[in-house]
Symmetry: C2
Subunit: 430 residues, 2 copies
Amino acid sequence: MKVLRVGLLGFGTVGTGVVKALARNGDLVGARTGVKPVITRIADLDITRDRGVQVPPGVLTTDARGVIADPNVDVIIELIGGTGIAKTLVIETLKSGKPVVTANKALLAKHGAEIFAAAKEGKADIYYEASVAGGIPIIKALREGLAANHIQAIFGILNGTCNYILTRMEREGLPFDTILQDAQRLGYAEADPSLDIDGFDTAHKTTILAALAYGEWFGMDAIHVEGIRGIDLQDIRYAAAAGYRIKLLGIIKLTGADIEMRVHPALIPVKSMMASVGEVFNAIMVRGDVVGDTLFYGRGAGMDATASAVVADLVDVGLNLDFDSTHRVPAFRAHSSYNDVTAMGAITSRYYMRLQVLDRPSVLARVAQILGESGISLASVIQKEQVEASVAVVMTTHKASEAAIRQALALISKLDAIQSPPILIRIEDL
Amino acid sequence: MKVLRVGLLGFGTVGTGVVKALARNGDLVGARTGVKPVITRIADLDITRDRGVQVPPGVLTTDARGVIADPNVDVIIELIGGTGIAKTLVIETLKSGKPVVTANKALLAKHGAEIFAAAKEGKADIYYEASVAGGIPIIKALREGLAANHIQAIFGILNGTCNYILTRMEREGLPFDTILQDAQRLGYAEADPSLDIDGFDTAHKTTILAALAYGEWFGMDAIHVEGIRGIDLQDIRYAAAAGYRIKLLGIIKLTGADIEMRVHPALIPVKSMMASVGEVFNAIMVRGDVVGDTLFYGRGAGMDATASAVVADLVDVGLNLDFDSTHRVPAFRAHSSYNDVTAMGAITSRYYMRLQVLDRPSVLARVAQILGESGISLASVIQKEQVEASVAVVMTTHKASEAAIRQALALISKLDAIQSPPILIRIEDL
């Protein structure tokens, strides 16, 4: 059995989870895989705080570079986060020829190309299972288990905070702001929640999945991102009445030779497996041309679930060191046989629309006319009996182009009888 | 890029799927992984039938041993099935030092120890992702992706035929026999359906998962197996009314230091992810002590889904040959730190019971008394208003030991007022 000596950079929540997991299950991991990871050095700015785990004396240091250079460290785990010093240290480690395990999705999404170049230069592995969907082994599944497939589509619920908020909004009938504040109080949302609720975290993970599926490191420039701030209880209720549930999705699709890559809330059929994914859980549905539909579900964040993925990566690194098989599964292998990322205006989708209108008899006719002239056909229309001056008109469309619906919506917005900006949410029938 | 020369034994449905998948996606697999599998020889007793795929001349032969011995064949795929000649050929191949990829669950469940010994002796890999749950990469997940975890429980819907029958019984309100006959007509069930509907196929797969989770190759002796032949529409309806759905489950649980291993129909909460798994789909829920609950879903059978798993295994074999890293992830690594398989009488469960009784006022009291004396407490009782001479009494229990419920049921069966053998189905709250 190989003992793998691990240097940990960043002794926060996930770092503590890794230390805990290895203390509890290190022997099992060794017996099961032939590689027993042992934490030998930990670097953090704060080396005095009690994390509730035992660390032998001499392990803790504030000197990250000393840990990287330590000849008694075989692999570095980067759990500092962000794209500042973490980037510098990861690149230095790889260039020095030492492998890295990281959970840093922002770093990979933004600087993947540079990091993989460093891994190549230093002939060192970098593994990053924990960067997407926490404990779910989706990266291994995509590049190994499903390697036989042209990937036709990926739909991901990739942000636990958003899924928790949407789940509670629907269940408790409380508005977004109330649930967000409660989530912040409970530690499920950050004090500055933008990264999560505005969709950027989901976008980071979506670009990583897209890169592995399509063999091109797209980065963050090509992805369309919308978050869940605008989701209103009314829309959750109308969606439910029509047999849908609203989820924030990372969506990757092959259409012809082009790739769609986008993050936005979507109505999905309430009977679908993805709609059953509640609370802080994550799930990724992968549609392959050979395997058909598959789905992977689990905890997408948290100290323990993330630690599970980090330890699995340590085993891969350890086996590669032991068998001298570095880059057996390289960090990223370009294999692009596709063209471009589709411009958002060129996608087609079904749409859910809610208009708040003064109930003038002519309004609905005028709206229908505008949609018709834009080539958009309606699948359903609901207009409730009027109890107030303004009434909600809820429509769903058949497939239409994003450009057409945007243009139609711009015209509809200008109608006198429209009381507030129209709500538009895409429908994904999965 | 490495070209991996593949000899295929067994040119049936799945074999044809592999040939098709490699013809279509072989280049992609090569570009994505660095290993391009190419079928160079195929052995089958029937080499004239049209399978609808192109095979170059000279590839087909009836001489399996000639394919195994061919120096232009790097790896053997065994898709003959069964435990006869398939076993002999797999062992010969491994002993000759050539790696094997197989989908043969019965072979592994029954003769795993012997086969893994041959792999060790010949220093050759054997991979078998396709043996459990078709295209779902659950074996890779269990021994690599989730390696950090003590596995606390696994619940598997592992037989597409059974799941298809149960799904249609519930949806269409038709009895077991009718749906089975229709499934046979449609090709979803074999002419002799016993392997599927009596639970043995699920048992084969369950023992393989248990072995990987707990590091001991249990074989088929220790597993308790019940099928779905006895499932009545009435029970599906009563279960639904109580918020449950009936599924055939492979169940593996760690209780204390012992392992429960069993296959039987069970009531599971209709709101659970597992209950959403319909039609021919499979799913495996894995509960780890670090990662928490995970779930893996997809097609469990069929030429294409199974081919997806076979090709993924070919890539692992090819990488191991290329990097000289055979046995990097060995076929099976004993790491048992557990005790025994729990005897069935010693498990505890919740139970669903249906009694068909003559509506004598005293019967229910007598049944309750017997249960009470056996230490079994009731969670719910439903007795419908009487419309016929005999009436159904449906009960669910709190946790009780299997031995106690069996003993109580034996006494209840003897009561004069009991019209037919009591129905007993376990409840798994997952």
